[in-house]
Symmetry: none
Subunit: 529 residues, 2 copies
């Protein structure tokens, strides 16, 4: 049976707070969705949003989609106007998208109070607009807005809207939980009732939002109750709490029900595609995202570590390879030798049988964590620690002689403070002295360190500090407390995290900064000069 | 009927990647959970984790819980050892927690392959350990680990584990979806089958993880299928994709099913409690989190903007007030003014009818919050802002001329850094110049400021800085990001919180330090000298 995977990342997903996609962004995301293997890509609302009009114009020329067709989103004609005379409807035809998805009111209250028209005229708007589009050769999806809330208020009216759409030639009617408040039990009941009214052959769809935290489960419930068209967005982007996360839905249905929904093997690249789209939307990935999150297959508990080593499938709901993700072991204070050994293997060090080394490293990790270090978020620092314990594995790129940072403000409130730092170190056989300025002391130290090193290690130009976190431990000690600094650095391809700890925040930051430089040079294959 | 709301934020939630809770953190989170109104707080694993042993020791003395009882988490006895001789079991008794939650294998594969024992011995371990604990007067919850996966592999064995637990006196058996791979339909089937086996009166529980993106829905399915004990964590913290988000579950069941699960009206404070816990865990809140996320009721201006204003309930699944959240688009000038007026009244300022002043303050607060200030956690800074707008209400205790802090390290790794600060200010008709040392730059500034002021204002001797928090906003900007510093000060009787924000961490800290001194002097009734 036909099954539609319908992506609305570029339209409904883009409603997310803080997201603002350019035409170029949309043109970059569409091929990734196509690679995933979805059947439909809803590109935007031509006519209503100028950049969406442009998107469809450029997409027709520039995109070569293998699996997906483009859908233009729009609304039914205005009340009291012929469909053919409605400029917004004409713009949908002008977009030349082969599929048009029309949003229509299916809750009598919205027809009356938001559109300020009658229930009857609203039904005529549905019928007329679909008939025109179908006559013009378009495939039509009707998004029955607020369907579930409307059905619970006045089931008869909501069903009339669905029947009007099918009667006018709509290929699909997608039932929308626009406010996102449904729970699966109610979805099941309502979809089953709709199925009874529309007969066995009509294609019903599901469009869910996550306001109850049930968007994925509501979509699964709808699929179980005969829905054959699912709408969603990559990474669950969308207004408020977001839309249903299409990746999670696809993985659940394909991997747990054994049904093939996508055109090819795109699910195996889901993690890469999810992260690539995050890069374009510039919205930080959510670590705990099901299937594709960086933490999705990361194990911390020490009790499990030894068993995981023996039998990984007992500890994961699917093989992460199926969605392009990896199992990761996190080193924590629950850690024993088994998890250190596993972590070492992940980093490319075979520690099997090296009992004494393992004990030494485990001991150091526990000591360090008691001081406030945390390695589960700082793989790079853990690797440097491990290399220190393995003879000759931690290269000496530079030797620090001294550093100093000064922050001062010469004036009262409203005067800006200045920060500068001086670093003296030995590298490349010479003494390097460098001063940097910055917004704050850590920024100034970062600049001074880079300047001191870049003469000898120009590779460091590629490194970019992308995340900086400060955590005060033992807060009850006030400004006298221990501080933990975590920093994340990228070289454009990959990123790594380092940690520093101490009673002095600046000193902790310095430790994380220098570890970051060492790790970056090491993994760029640079030899000490 | 009895219903248990069982929180495991402090134990299973703390398994989240990047989370590392100190004893002080746990002691600060527990009262917030109690305020929410949960019935059980699982505090950790005494005996296995030293800081958890300490937590239970201190909790018994320091925590005054109104609604919740503490539960200690641990494992059944080891194979081949008497329960009474098992040190780990003894530590559970020693914790003196009134409830003990035992994790036990209920999947035959885990008994055989991870524990390397027989199915029979595993059942004996369950029975013996529960019998001992019950004999010693403890209420026992059995966490049937990997129950759902185990049931699908060998239903009979998994049921035997559940029956053994009830037979030995367990009050609850919580069915755990440890790997998080279930979907609601399967949960319904399996819980119904278990109910048939255990009879109508046994209390079954649900412990879900979110690996399929269905943890909340799976828990709702279990409740529909007669489960009367739900486990979860605030903000869905937990290993991999996290545990079921307790806040979402509670809001769904209380607000959509009309069942009362919590001890009081804590749900109305869910948003504040969620964010307060985020501050302690130092894990950035997820904007799209259902119910309590900052975006959860944020509407992007779009087609329905005017309709939302007329009829908000048509566009939201619940009234956000019910979970202490706000519809963001509708935070109008009037609404903002109303809450400022209320807050003013709380602080002893009657602002009723002072329209112009209220507008000015509202405007300043909105501006400041856009820059990163947060007054929810810094009443003292808000009061100073308010006083600034009311003529002559912010006393000028001192005028700062300049300050400077220097942090330096003269040597390589292992050498300690030093921090000193100099403050120049005018107070008591004289110029005061003072230098302080400290563990770090903020500590040094704190010391220098106090020394400069104490000559004129000896009252400041009583003030003690008890909490210092740093939060990096806009983390993607690396060390160039905006920083927020919150500090809490006490005079022995009461405490107050102040906030500072800026690109320079030290400058933000200075702002919070000086505000703290001013507020403290003001409330000690000291006149400017």
């Amino acid at each position: 049976m036909t099954f539609h995977v319908y992506d609305t990342t570029l339209r409904d997903g883009a409603q997310q707070e803080g997201m603002n996609l350019s035409v170029a962004d949309k043109l970059a995301i569409a091929p990734l969705l196509d690679e995933l293997g979805v059947g439909f890509i809803e590109g935007g609302w031509p006519g209503a949003v100028p950049k969406d009009t442009e998107f469809f114009k450029r997409a027709a020329k520039e995109l070569e989609l293998k699996n997906a067709v483009l859908a233009a989103f729009g609304a039914t004609r205005k009340a009291g106007v012929r469909a053919v005379d409605d400029a917004q409807v004409r713009a949908l035809l002008d977009s030349e998208a082969p599929v048009v998805t029309l949003v229509a009111k299916s809750d009598i209250r919205h027809a009356e109070r938001a559109l300020r028209t009658t229930g009857e005229e609203n039904l005529a708007m549905i019928t007329d607009t679909i008939e025109l589009l179908v006559r013009e050769g378009r495939r039509v999806v009707l998004d029955a807005e607020h369907f579930f809330d409307g059905y619970r208020f006045d089931a008869d009216y909501s069903l009339q809207a669905v029947l009007a759409a099918f009667g006018a030639g709509a290929e699909v009617v997608a039932l929308c939980d626009t406010n996102g408040g449904m729970v699966p039990r109610r979805v099941t009941e309502i979809v089953e009732a709709v199925r009874g009214a529309v007969g066995p052959d009509a294609i019903l769809g599901m469009h869910a939002h996550n306001d109850s935290g049930c968007a994925v489960a509501n979509t699964l419930a709808a699929v179980d109750a005969s829905v054959a068209h699912v709408q969603g967005t990559v990474n669950g982007y969308g207004e408020r709490t977001g839309n249903a996360d299409l990746l999670t839905i696809l993985a659940n249905v394909e991997l747990k029900e054994g049904r093939r929904l996508l055109a090819g093997d795109g699910l195996r690249d889901a993690t890469r595609i999810s992260h690539a789209i995050s890069e374009i939307t510039n919205i930080s990935p959510f670590a705990r995202q099901p299937y594709v999150g960086v933490s999705a297959f990361a194990h911390k508990a020490g009790i499990h570590a030894s068993a995981i080593k023996v039998d990984p499938d007992l500890y994961q709901h699917i093989d992460p390879v199926l969605v392009g993700n990896d199992m990761r072991m996190l080193v924590s204070d629950m850690a024993g030798r088994a998890s250190i050994e596993l972590k070492g293997r992940e980093l490319g060090f075979d520690l099997a049988g090296q009992g004494e080394l393992l004990s030494r490293v485990t001991h150091r990790v526990k000591d360090a964590e008691a001081q406030g270090y945390t390695y589960d978020a700082a793989d790079a620092s853990f690797e440097l620690l491990l290399r220190e314990e393995i003879d000759g594995q931690r290269p000496g790129y530079f030797r620090v002689e001294s550093w100093r940072t000064i922050v001062e403000r010469n004036g009262g409130r409203g005067t800006a403070a200045t920060a500068e730092a001086t670093v003296k170190l030995h590298a490349g056989g010479e003494r390097q002295v460098s001063t940097g300025e910055g917004n704050g002391p850590v920024n100034a130290l970062d600049h001074a360190l880079r300047q001191a090193l870049v003469r000898v290690y120009p590779e460091i130009e590629e490194f970019d500090l992308i995340d900086f976190k400060v955590r005060i431990l033992d807060q009850e000690h006030g400004t006298d407390a221990t501080t933990r600094v975590l920093i994340e650095t990228t070289d454009g391809q990959t990123s790594w995290s380092t940690v520093g700890v101490g009673p002095n925040l600046i000193e902790a930051a310095w430790e994380a900064l220098t570890d970051s430089a060492i790790y970056g040079l090491l993994h760029a294959g640079v030899a000490p000069r």
